[in-house]
C-alpha cells in the first residue's frame, strides 16, 4: 500500500547572525545552508499494518509523513501510496487517505463538530447511509455524542482530538497517517485513543503510519517500527527484536522491611550490578540478563525482602540508546 524508494528531502534555511549588526547585515546578505531532513529512506507498508516511526526531534519523521501524505514534494526518490504518487495529489488517492496532526487542529474552530463532519461529508462525497453508519460507529466508540453540537474551540484537548479522529476516519480511508495523535493528552485520553486505533485497525485493516514521542503509543500500537536518526532510517523491523537486542539487562527491584538489619552481611551491592536506586526501604539494581538468577538469589538471601520484582528495561531507555548510538541498528 505504501512503497518508498530512496526518498530524500532537503530544505534551505537562512541564517542570521545575532545582534543589531547581524540584523542590519541580513538586510543585504543572508547566508543560506542546506538542511537534509530525510535521506535515502526506503520501506514498504502493507494492508492492515501499523508501523511506528520513532526518532528524536528533527529526525525527519514528520517530513517523511508530509511527503507521503502529498503535502510537500521530495528533493529526490520516489514513493507510491495505493499506486499513486502522493505529491501529484490525485483526487482518487486523496479520497482514500487521511492525515491527523496532533500538533495542528484541522477542524474549523468556529463550527460545532457536527457541522465540520457534514462539510467533510460533502468534500469526500460520502453517501448518506455510509456517513450515518460510520459517524454513529465512531461517535459511539469514542463516546463523544454529547459534544457533537459544541463549537470545536470550546472542547477540551482530549475531546478535540477525538473529533479530529472522527473527521479523519469518516471517509473510511485505506491509508492513515497519524502524526503525534496523543500529544498533550492526559493518560486516560491517551489510552482511549490507543484502544480506538487498535479497534479501528482490527475492523477496517487500513495501513497506518504512526509517529509519536510517547513510547507507550509505540509499544501498544506498533509491532513494527522504523527508527530514524538525522534523516535516515537506521532500523526497520519488529519492536521486539530491538528490545531483545538492546535490553541486555533487567531491573531487580526489592522493597525491604524498614529499619531491618541485613539477615546476613550483604555483599557489596555494586558487585551484583549497577545500583539504580538505594534507600532505607528499597533497592533497585540493573544486572546483566545472564546474572539475573544469581543476583536475585543473593538479594533475597541477604535482605528482609517484603516485595520483589524483575522488570524489563523501559523502551524509552532502549530507544534513547539507539538514538545516541552510531551506525546501523540492525
Amino acid at each position: 500500500m505504501i512503497e518508498v524508494e530512496a526518498l530524500k528531502k532537503s530544505f534551505f534555511v537562512h541564517k542570521k547572525e545575532p545582534g543589531l549588526v547581524g540584523s542590519l547585515r541580513s538586510l543585504f546578505v543572508r547566508k543560506r545552508t542546506e538542511k537534509v531532513a530525510v535521506r535515502d529512506v526506503s520501506f514498504r507498508v502493507d494492508e492492515g499494518e501499523i508501523v511506528g516511526i520513532v526518532g528524536a526531534n528533527g529526525a525527519g519523521k514528520t517530513t517523511l509523513v508530509k511527503m507521503l501524505a502529498g503535502i510537500i514534494h521530495p528533493s529526490a526518490g520516489s514513493a507510491k501510496v495505493l499506486g499513486y504518487v502522493p505529491w501529484e495529489r490525485d483526487d482518487e488517492l486523496r479520497r482514500q487517505i487521511a492525515l491527523i496532526m496532533g500538533q495542528k487542529a484541522q477542524l474549523w474552530w468556529d463550527l460545532p463538530a457536527a457541522d465540520c463532519f457534514l462539510l467533510l461529508k460533502e468534500i469526500y462525497k460520502i453517501p448518506d447511509a455510509q456517513y450515518k453508519k460510520t459517524l454513529d460507529y465512531l461517535v459511539d466508540v469514542l463516546r463523544v455524542g454529547d459534544e457533537l453540537n459544541v463549537q470545536i474551540r470550546r472542547l477540551s484537548l482530549g475531546e478535540r482530538m477525538k473529533m479530529e479522529l472522527i473527521a479523519t476516519l469518516l471517509h473510511s480511508p485505506r491509508v492513515v497517517f497519524l502524526d503525534e495523535p496523543t500529544i498533550g493528552l492526559d493518560l486516560t485520553a491517551q489510552r482511549a485513543i490507543r484502544e480506538f486505533i487498535l479497534q479501528y485497525r482490527a475492523e477496517h485493516r487500513p495501513a497506518m503510519l504512526v509517529t509519536s514521542h510517547y513510547m507507550e503509543d509505540i509499544r501498544r500500537l506498533c509491532p513494527r517500527i522504523l527508527i530514524m536518526r538525522e534523516g535516515e532510517v537506521v532500523y526497520d523491523g519488529s519492536l521486539q527484536r530491538v528490545i531483545d537486542k538492546y535490553a541486555d539487562s533487567k531491573l531487580l527491584r526489592a522493597h525491604v522491611r524498614p529499619h531491618a538489619k541485613p539477615v546476613v552481611m550483604p555483599p557489596t551491592l555494586a558487585a551484583l550490578g549497577d545500583v539504580v536506586e538505594c534507600s532505607e526501604e528499597s533497592v533497585c539494581l540493573r544486572v546483566p540478563r545472564d546474572a539475573v538468577a544469581t543476583a536475585s538469589a543473593r538479594l533475597l538471601d541477604h535482605f528482609d525482602v517484603v516485595d520483589f520484582a524483575i522488570e524489563e528495561v523501559g523502551i524509552e531507555t532502549i530507544i534513547e540508546r539507539i538514538f545516541l548510538a552510531k551506525g546501523d541498528v540492525a
Binding site: 530544505f11 514528520t62 508530509k66 501524505a69 502529498g70 503535502i71 510537500i72 514534494h73 495529489r89 483526487d91 482518487e92 486523496r94 479520497r95 487517505i97 487521511a98 492525515l99 496532526m101 500538533q103 495542528k104 484541522q106 474549523w108 468556529d110 463550527l111 457541522d115 457534514l118 462539510l119 460533502e122 468534500i123 469526500y124 462525497k125 502524526d179
Partner: protein, 267 residues
C-alpha cells in the same frame, strides 16, 4: 447541495453568528468609509469655489462615495480574509492539500460566504441612505441595479484573484503584509475607492480603461448610477473576464512553483 454551495453556506452561517462584530463593524465601517470623504469633499468644494470637480457636483460626488462605501464592502469584504498567506506561514494549508477538493475553489467559496454579512450590511445601510440622502444625480432603474450587482460579483472575483496572487508570495517571502497593503492601496487609488476616476487626466484614464482596477469600484458604482449603458456594461464585462482568465493563469503558475517550496511548517 454541492460542495461549493455547502462551504458558502457554512461560512455565511459562521460569520452571521457573531452578532456583536456584525453591528459594530457595520456602524464604524460605514461611518469611517463614508464620513471621512463626506467632510473632505465638502471642504474641497467649499475651498475651491468650483461647482464641479472631475465633472461631478458636490451632490453627485457624495452620491458616488455613498455607493462606493456600500458596494465596496461587497467587493473587498473586510479586507482580504482568505488568509492564504497565513495558511502558508502557519501550515494551515496542509489540511486543504489532503482534501480531494481544490484549495482555491474552497477559499473562493469561503469568501463568498464571508460576503453574506457584508451584503446584509450594505442592504441595511443602503435603505438608511436612501431614506436620508437625495440621489438626484443617480438614475436607478431595474436594469442598472441588475447590471450593477453583476458588476459587483465580477469585481469581487477580480479582487479575490489579485489578492490570491499577492498572498502566494508567502511561499517565498517571510511576510507579505506590506505587499498586501501596497496592492490594496494601488487598487483603491486606481479603482475609484479613494478618488473618482474622473479626476485623473485623459491619458491616465486611457490606461485605467485597460487595467483591471477600475472594475473594482468605479465600474459597478457607475453602472448602478445609470452612467454606463448596457452595451458599455457588456464590453466592460468582456474586458474583466479576460482579466479574470489572465489572473487565474498567473495564480495557477505561481501556485505550481510555490508548491515546490512549501515546507508545511507548523506541524
Amino acid at each position: 447541495m454541492s460542495t461549493f454551495a455547502h462551504i458558502v453556506s457554512v461560512e455565511a452561517r459562521t460569520r452571521l453568528s457573531y452578532r456583536g462584530a456584525f453591528w459594530f463593524n457595520a456602524a464604524f465601517g460605514f461611518m469611517s468609509d463614508f464620513g471621512v470623504v463626506f467632510f473632505v469633499w465638502t471642504a474641497m468644494f467649499a475651498e475651491s469655489g468650483h461647482a464641479e470637480i472631475g465633472g461631478r457636483t458636490l451632490s453627485a460626488t457624495i452620491n458616488y462615495y455613498l455607493l462606493v462605501a456600500l458596494l465596496g464592502r461587497m467587493v473587498r469584504g473586510d479586507r482580504f480574509e482568505g488568509q492564504i498567506s497565513a495558511d502558508i506561514y502557519e501550515g494551515g494549508l496542509n489540511r486543504y492539500l489532503v482534501f480531494p477538493y481544490s484549495y482555491f475553489r474552497f477559499k473562493y467559496a469561503q469568501r463568498l460566504g464571508q460576503m453574506a454579512p457584508e451584503f446584509l450590511k450594505s442592504v441595511v445601510f443602503g435603505v438608511l441612505a436612501i431614506s436620508f440622502v437625495s440621489f438626484e444625480s443617480a438614475a436607478f432603474t431595474v436594469g442598472s441595479v441588475i447590471m450593477g450587482l453583476g458588476a459587483v460579483f465580477v469585481a469581487n472575483l477580480v479582487f479575490f484573484l489579485i489578492m490570491t496572487i499577492v498572498h502566494q508570495v508567502a511561499f517565498w517571502a517571510d511576510n507579505v503584509w506590506s505587499l498586501d497593503v501596497a496592492v490594496w492601496f494601488v487598487a483603491s487609488l486606481l479603482g475609484g475607492w479613494m478618488l473618482p476616476l474622473s479626476v485623473f487626466s485623459e491619458p491616465v484614464r486611457a490606461w485605467l480603461e485597460v487595467l483591471p482596477f477600475r472594475f473594482l469600484y468605479d465600474f459597478p458604482v457607475r453602472v448602478l448610477m445609470g452612467e454606463i449603458g448596457a452595451v458599455e456594461w457588456a464590453r466592460g464585462i468582456v474586458v474583466v473576464a479576460v482579466w479574470c482568465i489572465a489572473l487565474a493563469l498567473v495564480s495557477r503558475w505561481v501556485w505550481r512553483r510555490g508548491q515546490r517550496r512549501y515546507t508545511g511548517v507548523g506541524i
